[in-house]
Amino acid sequence: MSLLEVKSLQKIYTTRFGGNQVQALSNVSFSVENGEYLAIMGESGSGKTTLLNILASLDKPTGGEVFLDGNNIVKIKDSEISAFRRDNLGFVFQDFNLLDTFSIQDNIFLPLVLSQKPYEEMNKRLKPLSKKLGIDEILPKYPYEISGGQKQRTAVARALITNPKLILADEPTGALDSKAAMNLLKIFSEINEAGQTILMVTHSIAAASHAKRVLFIKDGEIYNQIYRGSMNNDEMYQKISMTLTVLATGGVKGE
């Protein structure tokens, strides 16, 4: 069985007084296998963020179902949704979303503290993780004292520390310089090698070219997908940019 299964997902936004309807997602179906590294690409307004919000259980779809490990997350009660998100999903955001009131260490601990894990266990999990991500030296510092790359690695550590089934990344390289971005993508590849399932939404071809599979969304629908197969990153890059060109110039769906 797939880890994540999305079935005919639909999302329609209605303006408050009912007048206009905007269809953000019309019919999206795909699945993600355990250990996969999937990138979702699309232009602004294509519906990727809506899709990610629904997967993250931050938003509810108008129609369709989403199964994570066999559980329909659309049907989870509001009261349980936060705990579900905390235990099963890890998030990496474009703008890091670190809290200035916490040190780096405490930012990473946040989800564990929320699920009331004892300090010893948190500490045990933090040690190897921070070493792997190269942030073990900045743990006592505060977000305003460190660089963007370090902030994003902190966010990755916060996402990983709960041992989530799925990492959801929303434009993780969006606010980073190219060096920090490459560094982060390397980390993503590494943790994926180690068996972590990742779903990343991005604009960046460079970012997407690290993934094992790339989904293209246009106007709320899946437009195309590319499998890495035996391609290396450069070939993948070429393939993605070609697809995007076709996408931008208005190719026909399913080509």
Binding site: S82, F102, D106, S115
Partner: protein, 661 residues
């Protein structure tokens, strides 16, 4: 077009920022009303005709100054808050191509609008509320004198002048802020100050010591005179301590909590402790302000209410009889006084009762052991120390004593009985110069006075065998003094309605004055009206200042909630993304705000608890010794205040949730 562009932009800005500008303008209006009301009271001619008006005017003058200083501080505080909030907007203007002088022009027009609105509404409101409060004050004073309400032109001018200066100064500080900052700074202005606060153990220790000294003074004060002098010293120490502890101590405490891993890494503590550390840094001064203001409100209102409620019993302590006339027994003064009393009583329809007429001798002396030493202090050397150490001695012949207390005691030449007000006279004997007596009895009750301690100095009544002994004592103590004649004393109560009693007292006063101006006279009713005017003034001022401080507190709380709402919005969004549910967010916020906002109230309550002893001592200086009454007044006032505080908290917390959601 250019001419109206800036005023128009200024108006739009004010409308867009109505959330924060409406409370700000309300603050300005409130301050102006308060200031004008005070100053117009002070300048009111009608007040001069009231008894005790000099005292009242002094209090009102002080009140005016306090309000002036307070308004200035407070308007600066709110203004700095506003401009901090708007830095982003101003930065945007400058990025869009406005020069600093253009921004300054917008700020100028904004201030002009705020000034015009506040002054117009404030002065109009002042005139209106002035009228209302005037009627209230007259009612409080138990007076029906129809003093004409009037509009105080001079007061209006002074108020307008002072507030124009204040507005100008706030504008100036805004100019300076804009001038100092570059656009990027302005854009990020609202987000600055996110560094982790440092706690200084030295400052904390200093705060604890300072608070300790203040509390120590408050707890060890002995006499009422001392209380009044030391109270201000204690207040200053406590204020310093409060600021130090709120700014540094709170953070130090939170850091200690943070170091305790098992406590800190609990989901609720985790967020509130770290959040509080930040919040305290930004809000410590504001919270300390609230704490001190609250203490002021509680102390002023409690004491003034106690005074007002307790004054009749206080007066009763001071005046054992409704009326007392004591004069030298020369000529036929006594007969004339008696006649005046009788005639006036008939005219006014009152009935003198419990009458005591007696002869007595009076002298002042210093008591050392059992020796009464002569009082040789020159008039110009009579200082505070003199009045606290001297003893007023009243010598009464046995015959008169037996008559008034309906007893038939016997005394020989060398025996006396003594009634000492306050502490008992503990010696077996007493000596005046060469003449010694043995004390036959230490009386515990006495018709002429009660046992309650005098405030300043001591008083004792000594009963001796006869007038000869009185003269002997006087001669022994003051051999060179000639005026040792015996005095006559008339003590009596009055029956009749209150107005008649007052009229009777005033008439008799006048007539006795005509008979011989040296005759001493005292009337409970005359004094009562005087004290009503003083305590009514106190109460009015207490409630007025209390209301003003309370208004300030409410607005500080409002501004804090709103500013925190903006800052916390993002933080709680992140926490929700990371997996915190809404209910938990709401609970955490609630707990955090509750702690932050009730900390000042708790601080104020502790301050008041420590101040209670001083308050009681100070009130004792006004002869209010009923500690139970003071305690009840203080507790009731504190409870009411806490209730109002909680309502304000609830109201602003709602605004806060709306922002965060």
């Amino acid at each position: 077009m250019n001419k109206i562009f800036y005023p128009k932009l200024a108006l739009t800005n004010l409308k867009k920022n109505a959330d924060t500008y409406v409370p700000y303008i309300l603050t300005c209006i409130g301050s102006i009303i308060a200031f004008y009301t005070m100053i117009s009271f002070y300048g009111n001619k009608g007040l001069d005709e009231m008894p005790g008006s000099i005292n009242l005017k002094t209090i009102l003058f002080l009140g005016t100054i306090v309000i002036g200083i307070f308004s200035t501080i407070f308007l600066f505080y709110t203004n700095s808050f506003l401009i901090k909030r708007r830095k982003k907007e101003l930065g945007l203007y400058s990025i869009l191509g406005m020069e600093k002088k253009h921004i300054a022009r917008v700020l100028f027009y904004e201030t002009v609008v705020v000034t015009i609105v506040s002054l117009t509404l404030g002065l109009l409101g002042g005139i209106l509320i002035g009228k209302l409060l005037y009627l209230l004050l007259l009612k409080l004073l138990h007076f029906t004198t129809p003093i004409q309400f009037y509009i105080d032109g001079r007061g209006l001018l002074i108020t307008a002048g002072i507030f124009l200066v204040i507005f100008f100064l706030t504008l100036l500080t805004n100019f300076i802020q804009v001038k100092m900052a570059n656009p990027i700074n302005l854009l990020k202005g609202g987000e600055q100050g996110e560094k982790e606060p440092k706690s200084s153990w030295i400052v904390t220790l200093f705060g604890i010591i300072s608070l300790g000294i203040g509390y120590g003074i408050a707890l060890t004060v002995k006499s009422p005179v001392e209380a009044i002098l030391l109270f201000f010293v204690a207040v200053i120490f406590v204020i310093i301590g409060t600021y130090a502890l709120f700014t540094s101590g709170s953070i130090a405490l939170l850091k200690v909590l943070k170091k305790n891993k098992n406590f800190y890494y609990q989901s609720r503590n985790f967020i509130s402790v770290s959040g509080m550390i930040y919040r305290m840094k930004q809000n410590a001064v504001g919270l300390a302000n609230i704490c001190i203001l609250s203490t002021m409100v509680l102390v002023t209102i409690s004491t003034t209410v106690s005074l007002y409620i307790g004054q009749e019993s206080m007066m009763r302590d001071m005046y054992h009889f409704d009326m007392i006339v004591v004069g030298e027994n020369t000529g036929n003064d006594e007969a004339l006084v008696a006649e005046s009393i009788q005639k006036t009583a008939e005219q006014r329809g009152v009935n003198p009762t419990d009458q005591i007429n007696l002869r007595l001798g009076n002298l002042t002396a210093f008591l050392e052991g059992d020796h009464f030493m002569p009082d040789l202090v020159a008039k110009e050397d009579k200082d505070n120390n003199y009045y606290t150490t001297k003893t007023d001695v009243w010598l009464i012949p046995l015959e008169d004593y037996n008559k008034m207390s309906d007893t038939s005691t016997d005394l020989n030449e060398n025996e006396v009985m003594i009634f000492s007000v306050g502490d008992n006279y503990n010696q077996k004997t007493m000596t005046f110069g060469d003449r010694s007596f043995s004390v036959k009895e230490n009386l515990q009750t006495f018709p002429l006075n009660n046992k309650k301690a005098e405030l300043v100095g001591k008083t004792c009544y000594i009963i001796v065998k006869d007038e000869g002994v009185i003269a002997d004592i006087q001669n022994n103590l003051y051999p060179d003094n000639n005026s040792k004649s015996l005095l006559f004393g008339k003590f009596f109560n009055l029956e009749g309605n209150d107005e008649a009693k007052l009229a009777f007292s005033e008439n008799v006063f006048q007539q006795v004055e005509g008979i011989n101006p040296d005759i001493d006279k005292a009337s409970y009713y005359v004094s009562l009206t005087e004290w009503y005017s003083i305590f009514g003034g106190f109460l009015f001022l207490g409630v007025f200042l209390g209301t003003l401080f309370m208004m300030a507190t409410v607005l500080i709380i409002y501004f804090k909630q709103i500013s925190e709402g903006y800052e916390d919005r993002d933080r709680f969004e992140i926490m929700q993304k990371v997996g915190m549910d809404k209910a938990e967010v709401k609970k955490t916020i609630g707990k955090q705000i509750l702690m932050v906002f009730f900390l000042p109230l708790a601080g104020a309550t502790i301050h008041v608890a420590f101040a209670f002893r001083v308050m009681a001592k100070m009130l004792a200086a006004f002869r209010l010794t009923d500690t139970g009454l003071i305690l009840i007044c203080t507790i009731v006032v504190t409870l009411i205040y806490a209730l109002i505080y909680a309502l304000v908290y609830w109201w602003t917390a709602k605004a806060y949730y709306k922002l965060v959601k």
